[in-house]
């Protein structure tokens, strides 16, 4: 395939762009369903408590209250909220409502009422008697001898060691780590910590549950995983899968927070109990405390290297806080090692080990980067320390050690999605070029170690690398259906879930490229469990690669069928024909027919058939995208304030199908990463209540807080990908934390290992260094 085609590699108009800019009612709550009740949730005020008694009589007497659900009147079915492939690698430690609450903000009961006011009044009047239990508010406390057991219920499934609050554990040795360190000339160690941070998609989680004319339950919901929603809701509410339809309209951002099935089972249960439609939405405070967060994690990395800079041994130890429930606990932890260690594949001795532990704090889950972000912070800070110890340029150190095209890492085989992985060779890697371009753009050679000062401001540059994956090997599956209309236009039906990334556009481009038509001739309909084929969903950087391959396969089949029909019309063999610009043209004679003529003939005239094809794709490997990050920071030595002056991200995502959308993914991911580095942290009062569950006190970057992110896409050709593409969604979020930490070190000589790098932390580090 050509690197750049007519539709691929072109910045076509985003298929939903104008409708969104015009404010068309495309989001979940933009649909008015007549007679819908409002659903609301009563939340626990305690971090850890047993529910001794619950009295809803006064609440039920509120006019307009239709239904109240709690542990006493719903069936008890263990499940996981993690929207992953089945069987899920996350423990079944959730219940629709439980006898016990495990964090401030946990579900106690749900109300459905005619009005919001009535629902809120009912929540106030539900009387709950709690027996407050000692709470576990840090991973260290969770692992301490005699710690309170958070999941002492007997019917949970898949918890690694419930008695010791360990949701999941990994222990992956490669080679002989002790030997590796003893043979190393230089050893460095870094321990870095990421706190609670939240996705803050601007659209809060929301759902409308209603019944269609046949009485089937429809869930119109803001989700990244419509097919997993259908499966999990069916389990929780006891409805046959085929009685449920899940529709994903436009989604106001996800970043992993909507890879969780949080509101849908509650709304479904309320709708089924009342026989009425139910609307539910989290408010912003609930999004912060009761949806999902990134897994707070402390990661220790120990590197052993030879005097020439070759890595010889890498140990990575992770302590992950999964909060009150174990959603994604094993897989995020696994990813911390599996998406980082292969980057430096030259070291023969590796050891990755760690635990994910329960605490009585908000529930962590999937968040863009998915453990790799946590791992790269420590790994890339350690690499900076190693470069310093070796007296080597940090870029040189990366060039000496990073994986190249044609190479592999034992980690690919050792760590998969909650189980063993598959061996894999890297077939495309342009990291070398990313490093070169990024270093040149930031002015690395001139600025590094320059210690430029301007009054109280100190300037420095730092860098980091990262890789990610493209889908989940052997587990993800996407399907696509393409049907031709008689006028030569096409319908593309995909289960793939566009959550704002632009995947509808990219999938249409892939189809258009193969079918030889402009993108406007392809109408895309995505993510409706009744009308589109299956797709595991929008996570793990999968859509372009996995769903894209399904589209490519389906388009190729349709392409063949079109040529067969045209062969009959032109009376020439199909192999002499090609599709181009809406026509089938004979390479031999130059004669041609239009797609409309082919379509009309096939639909109405001779050997009638619908020109249609479906195809599925399961990724046999997960090609990593690569990125190099360079930044320049200014540190106010009097206040400790850090400003990011410039940020350069150079990434290899294979062939960018839509360069502008790919740039947008990278820019957005980098800015989220800058937020993690400088301001974002959920804080808690001593008894576990969140201090700053609002967008005023939890600071995400505004346009003024970040520079113009400078991105460069360095093309490579991924032979297993759709027209050469691999992923871009996540890789960008892994760089800012270590790159900024390393730049601060370059500027003022202090290592910031606890994010975010607030003025207070930076100043404390500066003071401590002076005192020493």
């Amino acid at each position: 395939m050509a690197l750049k085609g007519k539709a691929v590699g072109v910045n076509v108009r985003k298929v939903d762009g104008l409708a969104l800019a015009a404010g068309r009612p495309k989001f979940t709550l933009d649909m008015d369903v007549p007679g819908a009740l409002i659903g609301k949730i009563l939340r626990s005020p305690h971090a850890h408590a047993e529910i001794i008694g619950i009295d809803t009589s006064r609440a039920e007497a509120v006019p307009g209250v239709a239904c109240i659900l709690h542990h006493g009147n719903v069936e008890r079915i263990p499940y996981t909220t993690a929207g992953q492939g089945w069987p899920e690698p996350s423990p079944y430690d959730n219940f629709l409502f439980d006898r016990k609450v495990r964090f401030v903000g946990d579900r106690v009961a749900a109300v459905a009422a005619e009005t919001e006011a009535a629902a809120e009044e009912a929540l106030r009047l539900i009387e709950v008697e709690y027996k407050v239990l000692p709470a576990v508010l840090s991973p260290e406390e969770a692992l301490a001898e005699g710690a309170p057991v958070i999941h002492d219920e007997e019917d949970a499934e898949g918890i690694h060691d419930a008695q010791h609050n360990v949701a999941a554990a990994v222990d992956i040795p490669v080679g002989d780590i002790e030997k590796g360190f003893s043979e190393s000339d230089v050893i460095v160690e870094a321990t870095c910590e990421i706190p609670y941070s939240q996705h803050t998609a601007l659209e809060p989680h929301c759902v409308i549950a209603y019944f269609d004319e046949d009485g089937r339950l429809v869930l119109r919901t803001s989700t990244q995983v419509p097919f997993h929603v259908r499966r999990i809701v069916a389990r929780v509410v006891g409805l046959p899968l085929e009685r449920i339809r899940v529709v994903k309209p436009r989604i106001g951002g996800g970043f992993g927070s909507k890879q969780e099935v949080i509101l849908e089972p509650v709304a479904a249960a309320l709708a089924l109990r009342t026989g009425r439609p139910v609307r539910m939405a989290l408010d912003r405070a609930e999004v912060f405390t009761s949806s999902r967060t990134r897994h707070p994690m402390r990661v220790r990395v120990k590197l052993g290297a030879k005097a020439d800079g070759r890595l010889h041994a890498i140990e990575m130890e992770a302590l992950s806080n999964t909060g009150a429930y174990g959603a994604h606990s094993l897989t995020v932890l696994s990813n911390t090692g599996s998406k980082t260690l292969p980057l430096y594949n030259k070291a023969p001795h590796l050891w990755f080990h760690g635990q994910a532990v329960y605490t009585n704090l908000p529930v962590a889950g999937a968040y863009r980067g998915y453990g790799a972000t946590q791992g790269y912070f420590a790994l890339e800070v350690a690499m900076d320390m190693l470069a310093e110890r070796l007296g080597m340029d940090p870029v040189e150190l990366r060039l000496k050690n990073h994986i190249r095209t044609g190479e592999t890492s034992p980690i690919f085989e050792k760590i998969g999605e909650g189980r063993e992985g598959k061996p894999q060779i890297v077939r495309s890697c342009a990291l070398e070029e990313c490093l070169r371009v990024g270093a040149e753009k930031i002015g690395w050679a001139e600025k590094r170690g320059e210690k430029r000062r301007k009054g109280r401001w100190a300037y420095g540059v730092g860098m980091a690398c990262s890789m990610q994956g493209s889908g989940i090997t052997g587990i993800d599956m996407a399907a696509a259906t393409i049907m031709m209309n008689e006028n030569g236009s096409f319908r593309l039906l995909v289960g793939a879930t566009d959550i704002g990334t632009g995947s509808d556009t990219i999938l249409a481009q892939l189809a258009a490229e193969i079918l030889g038509v402009p993108v406007e001739r392809i109408s895309v309909y995505s993510s409706d469990t009744d009308f589109t084929p299956f797709d595991t969903g929008a996570y793990a950087s999968s859509t372009t690669y996995v769903s894209g391959m399904a589209v490519v396969k389906a388009a190729q089949e349709v392409h063949e069928k079109i040529l067969e029909v045209a062969a009959g019309m032109l009376e020439e063999p199909a192999q002499d024909l090609e599709l181009s610009e809406g026509r089938v043209v004979s390479k031999a004679t130059g004669k041609s027919v239009t797609l409309s003529e082919v379509g009309h003939r096939a639909t109405y005239v001779v050997d009638q058939q619908h020109i249609i094809a479906s195809a599925s794709f399961v990724p046999p490997e997960s090609p990593p995208p690569f990125a190099a990050f360079f930044c320049e920071v200014a540190v106010d030595t009097e206040t400790g304030l850090v400003r990011v002056e410039r940020f350069v991200a150079a990434a290899d995502c294979g062939v960018p199908i839509h360069p502008r959308l790919a740039e947008g993914q990278l820019e957005g991911a980098v800015v989220q990463g800058i937020g993690h580095a400088l301001t974002e942290e959920l804080l808690f009062f001593p008894k576990g209540r969140c201090v700053n569950a609002n967008l005023f006190d939890y600071k995400i970057p505004s346009a003024l807080d970040v520079p113009d992110i400078e991105v460069v896409l360095v093309d490579s050709q991924e032979p297993t990908g759709p027209l050469g593409a691999k992923s871009i969604a996540e890789v960008g979020i892994n760089g800012p934390l270590p790159a900024i930490a390393n730049a601060i070190y370059d500027a003022v000589g202090v290592r910031l290992c606890r994010a975010p790098f607030t003025p207070a932390r930076v100043l404390a580090a500066l003071v401590e260094r002076k005192e020493r």
């Binding site: 910045n11 108009r13 985003k14 939903d16 762009g17 104008l18 409708a19 969104l20 800019a21 015009a22 404010g23 068309r24 009612p25 495309k26 989001f27 709550l29 933009d30 006011a117 009044e121 996705h199 803050t200 998609a201 601007l202 659209e203 809060p204 436009r250 989604i251 106001g252 951002g253 970043f255 939405a281 408010d283 912003r284 959550i499 704002g500 990334t501 632009g502 502008r660 959308l661 740039e663 947008g664 820019e667 957005g668 991911a669 980098v670 800015v671 989220q672 609002n694 967008l695 005023f696 995400i700 505004s702 346009a703 003024l704 807080d705 970040v706 113009d708 992110i709 991105v711």
Partner: protein, 164 residues
Amino acid sequence: MGNETTVMKIYFELNGETRYEEMESGESLLSLLRRLGMKSVKSGCDTGDCGVCTVLVNGRAVRSCTTFAAQVRGKQVTTVEGLGDVDDPHPLQEAFVEAGAVQCGFCTPGMILVAYELLQRNDAPTPEGVRAWLSGNLCRCTGYVKIVDAVLLAARWKREGRWR
């Protein structure tokens, strides 16, 4: 509770049309506008921090979530539906699509209205000026690069007379 809610009816102008609408005394402008079908007006925080509920009142950007509906009595309210539609988009809406400033699109209507106010005042803003002006409206998808590009592109179009 105990607070009596009063129902009132007020005149105001919505996207160029005179309206006479009923509302409860405590109702937010956000709630009223969505009730009237202006679904471009989004709810993101209800505390005035995110900006997705932004509308123009007499040409100035306000947070509709922290504005009482009754406050627009006699005033002109503009939502993004009032600027243009898919078949006949406003140049600013086109610029957002053209520049790649629309990812999920949830912040887009508010961003466009804030940018519209800016460009009505100054059609030659600097990139820094655009960033400062937009800084009350959050976007979690784009990293702002292409939103700034879109506003600068629209400013150029406006200077070239492509505007309305």
